[in-house]
Chain length 398, copies 2
């Protein structure tokens, strides 16, 4: 059967493609430390299932295409408490942050339109572009300057007549970079001067470790060119709920995304009930989680610093670190770690880095690690990685 | 802000676009009989919420991109009991039948590829094609021959080198047609002879009133060219759960749709737990529901037959009837019924018919009605419709 060129050209997710190797390792009795996927081990607030257990609708009926009013109001309140005032009409509930991005790209980009990204970026951005025939327009950043943005001139030089939007994650996945107010102001200027839409994926907003966080939603100058993507997945450790949202004040965009929302009728009813309750979680929950991740960040940074030839980003937010490894090919190394190596029956899994680039040949010896495990597990996982490096046939420091 | 041409060209759903008029009518205290949307008034089996209430995961975590094994096994068993044997690897869980169709079109069609449909068809098929730049290739059918298929020659004459698939709903939405075994065999021949994929949307499979139902999944000759789309929405009156699936034996297709599934990571965890339990619902539930809909079918058919100038399809399955009205424009009439007309504070809402066609100008005086209300409500709704017709300024029998 002939499959569309679009899907043929899609890569399997670098975060998930090695799962069959991990499953095989586990079937042989190996323990695998999963640094490949941003699946926190933090418990979901009990409010989620408590609200769902109390839900007593006799008919699980279709809902509004733009989401349940109760959840939309809860999100409006959460934003208002952060000084961002949105109308109920500005908020669209989606099947996770992923669908929020899919519907946003659908609404903005025709085939051949370009999405500007700062490389490396969240791997599935490649798929969202391919889905709609849009092109990635990657602007390089590097570990040497902490994955911060290049100059305005350099960014503007990448803009073409087809550049429709800039898509970024802040705090960053996979790098953990948090953009400075100066960088944010520069992006606001660029978007306004070139009529480009800024899609700000801010799902890691609550995970910032070394200072305050400034949402693009608090910058009035960008309001008419800004689409915020958000999700309960990471914030409340509810990745499986698949509840996200798109927030925008621009009426043209909102009219468009409403049509996009209608193509899939509505978002699951029960999970929306749970998600609305999550927004009632006391802020102390988020404070505690933040402290825990900061500790983990410090742990993994210190553990990685001990390994010769390993260069890691210095994450200020989110829970990922981008790491350059002294190996020929990080994907081969990842497979080797799962199939050929263990210490006392334990091994470490991570996501190969090349999937976080769209420029061919980039990221081959890099990987992304999610520090979503307890500190003692992280220490063990990185120790195992270090021992594996030394034994790996493609180790380049030999 | 410039919205993509794709979304600009999408129509609002004919099933949902008049909801603001209905909301305004209700705000004025009017009662609206909703024949516009296939939202059954039947209670969801209690198994759904019972299973969810017992779910005690501490972390609502990411699941497999292809769905929860428990749900996949439940679906495999349901099909096996109907004589259709699928491997677990052949079944992909989706966010409702809508996403099942979206991911299927994404996997099969590049821009300019054609999707053959039998007109009238389920309105959102237009959007699924537009989403990916595919073209609709409509083959007309008509109320005069009960919306059955034209001859093989006529269908084959519509095939072009770009025809990638035939997309149909059987039993039919919006017509209620159930294809005969001869029609099915003809489609199987056409697909095999022309290397065309048959996408069989069989979500109404359990709603057949005048004889047996034959799934395309029971025809071995089509197995390698067949994609079945299914859903719990209508079968178990759980439209808001948004749990559907794609079933296919072709390995190329399965490799492709797995990539499509990974773009949105996974389907909500909690609703999958409930859906797995739905498949354990005793068949007596489906038998009772079937009897109830048959009664409603007979009720609405008899009520419509009394109205002069009204021509209705003779539905053998699903719970829709396509109706030709003696009016200038069914959409104008629908709005007029909501804004200008009532009998003792009650009025009737239905879906304008033109949205169920892709050929411009077709269906202007038609509408789709969903007989998802109790028989006494249906009788009242059609009575109100008949009285409205006579008063409507665009009534053509005057």
């Amino acid at each position: 059967m002939k499959i569309s060129n679009r899907v043929q050209n899609m890569s399997l997710s670098p975060i998930r493609k090695l799962v069959p190797y991990a499953d095989a390792a586990k079937a042989q009795g190996k323990k695998v430390y999963h640094l490949n996927i941003g699946q926190p081990d933090i418990e979901t607030p009990t409010q989620f299932m408590d609200a769902i257990r109390e839900y007593d609708a006799k008919i699980i009926a279709y809902g509004n295409s733009k989401g349940e009013p109760k959840l939309i109001k809860a999100i409006q309140k959460y934003y208002a408490e952060k000084g961002m005032n949105y109308d109920l009409a500005d908020i669209y509930i989606t099947n996770g942050g992923s669908e929020a991005l899919i519907l946003t790209v659908m609404t903005l980009c025709d085939p051949e339109d370009e999405i500007m990204v700062f490389e490396p970026f969240y791997a599935n951005y490649n798929s969202f572009a391919k889905e709609f025939g849009a092109k990635m327009n990657p602007v390089p950043t590097s570990v040497e300057n902490g994955y911060h943005l290049p100059s305005k001139e350099e960014i503007v030089a990448h803009i073409t007549p087809n550049t429709r939007c800039i898509l970024l994650t802040n705090p960053g996945n996979p790098t953990g970079v948090v953009y400075t107010p100066e960088e944010q102001d520069m992006l606001v200027e660029i978007c306004n001067e070139h009529d480009i839409v800024l899609i700000a994926d801010e799902v890691y907003r609550e995970f910032v470790y070394d200072g305050a966080y400034r949402s693009f939603g608090t910058i009035p100058e960008i309001a008419d060119h800004l689409v915020i993507v958000d999700s309960v997945s990471k914030r409340y450790s509810a990745c499986g709920a698949r509840i996200g949202c798109v927030i925008c004040k621009n009426k043209d965009f909102n009219g468009g995304i409403m049509k996009a929302c209608q193509t899939r009728l509505c978002v699951p009813a029960v999970e929306q009930i749970g998600a609305a309750a999550l927004y009632e979680t006391p802020t102390s929950y988020l404070d505690d989680v933040n402290k825990e991740y900061k500790k983990r960040r410090d742990t993994i940074a210190a553990a990685l610093a001990k390994l010769p030839g390993v260069k890691a980003s210095d994450p200020k937010g989110a829970f990922y670190v981008m790491v350059s490894l002294p190996v020929d090919d990080a994907e081969k190394f990842a497979i080797w770690m799962l199939t050929e190596f263990d210490i006392n029956g334990e091994t470490t899994m991570f996501a190969p880095g090349n999937g976080f680039y769209s420029t061919p040949g980039m990221g081959v010896n890099e990987c992304r690690m999610a520090y979503v495990l307890k500190s003692e597990d992280l220490e063990k996982a990185i120790y195992i990685l270090g021992e594996g490096l030394k034994k790996y046939p493609g180790y380049t420091l030999k």
